[in-house]
Every structure is written in structure tokens, then in C-alpha cells.
Symmetry: C2
Subunit: 128 residues, 2 copies
Amino acid sequence: MFPNIDPQNGIPLFEQVCRQVKFAIADQAYLPGELLPSVREMAQKMAVNPNTVARSYGELQREGIIESVRGTGMQITAEARRICQKERVRLIQERIVSALQEARFSQLTQEEVTKIVEREIQRLWKSK
Amino acid sequence: MFPNIDPQNGIPLFEQVCRQVKFAIADQAYLPGELLPSVREMAQKMAVNPNTVARSYGELQREGIIESVRGTGMQITAEARRICQKERVRLIQERIVSALQEARFSQLTQEEVTKIVEREIQRLWKSK
DNA sequence: ACTGCTGTACTAGATAGATAGTACACTACA
DNA sequence: TGTAGTGTACTATCTATCTAGTACAGCAGT
């Protein structure tokens, strides 16, 4: 379910966990009212420390995506899907823009960048 | 000359400095045989610590892009331009691919991603 | 020779991220 | 009423990055 946690990604682990959970909710792999896997279980799934997951869950809670039900677990809120679908686009867009900005500043031409992007999109989406 | 060093970029500063220098050489802002700005001068330009620049210069040296001439400065090697032009494409491509991979995994459709990319490329390159 | 500039090499401290381990209050369920 | 599983809150330790400050050997130009 969460195959791509990359410790040497530059992106902090607790943030990667947040993103993965958000994407899963946006994709309706988890539905409102359901419980997320427990801190300890999710930590095993993602091969990170339980504290790291706890930090991510705290973050998701502050964003109104999940609610803590003491002694029971983290429940997905009613607004979670809406928030996460917005977040998904925002987060992805942010990263793409950042990469393209560097390309722009580095004096690469529009043609060179377009070529790279089109090639990679083809490669990544061909086996849909 | 180096307007975009961003401390909260996720990318370590010393690595950002490396990239900027590589891009400048690829763009022939510095030519083989010339000296790079001194550690202290570059540190001022980029608003970072001299130690950070020194670390970056050490990295560039190990990659064969510059040579240390004790008491004089860091001299740009004959192969620097070739190496840096390759590196420029590689580094940019790496970042773009990484962002697109996340988009792919997050179940965004090819159309949504293409739309984002095309819009941003238009926006960034229009004022060429 | 002197002075000022190089790179280089230290030490020390601050901060952020991550791991490991422990503990505790709460809830669900048999 | 136990008991097992929740979130939560600590402390301690490790690593990487960055900053600050100091020092020193080597080169260039006066």
C-alpha cells in the first residue's frame, strides 16, 4: 500500500508519511468514519519509527483530516476527502513548479525542458 | 548572479551552492582557467557561511570541475564546461522525474499532470 | 620583507530530523 | 474485571546541516 517512503529523498520522513496518507484518502482508499491503521501498525507498514508516524498523525489532525478518538484510534473526518483532494493537487503542483523554476533559472530552453517532461510522462503513464 | 538560494528548500545549502556554480559554468558565466570567487566572497554573495561554500568547493573539486591553487584560488578546469552541462541536465531531470513519479503514484491522471506542467512552462518561459 | 589575499582545518554550538525505549490514561471486548 | 490495543508524552541518543570563530600555510604584489 505504501511502497515509496524514501529516507534519502530530501523530504523528511514524517512529511512523506503525511503525503502518503493524504493521497490514500484522496484516492478513497480510506473513507470518512473509518480508522487509520494504528501508530504502531503504520510504522511497521512504512518501515519507520512509531514516533515519526505519531508526529505525522498529529499534523494530519491539526489539518482537520483525522480526529483522535482516545483509546480507539484516528478517525477520518467528514471533510477529509475534500481537503485531501485539494492538498494532493497543491502538493504535487508545488513540487513540479519548484523543479521547473530551477530549470528556468538554469538557462535551459523551453524546448529542452518540454522534451524531458513529455518523455517522462509517456514513460510513467504508459502502463496504465 | 545567485538570487535563488533558499534555506528552507529541503535541499541542503552546500548542495544548492554546488548546483548554482555548476549551472553558471554550464552557462559559460565562468570559463576554464578563470578563478571562482573566493570562499569568503562567494559566501557574501550567497548569504551563507564561508564554511558552507568551502564544503561546496571541496565537492566541486572532487568532481573535477575546479582545481585548488593554494594561495591563489579555485581554478576552473578544462573539462568543467562539459561536465557541468551534463550535470545540469541530469540534476534538473532528476528533480522533474521525482516530482512526476509522485504524481503518478498519487493516482493523478496523465491529463491533470500535463495540464499543470504546460501551464507552468508557459508561465515561466513567456517573458524570455 | 611585508601585507593581504588565498584555501584549509580545526573547535564549538544550534537546530532539525529520526530512532529507541518507557510510561500512562483511555477504550473496547471477552 | 482483566487485558490488549489505542493515542500521547516523555527522555535519551544519534546524525546531518549550518553557523561562528580562530588559526595557519602558501602565493602575489608592493
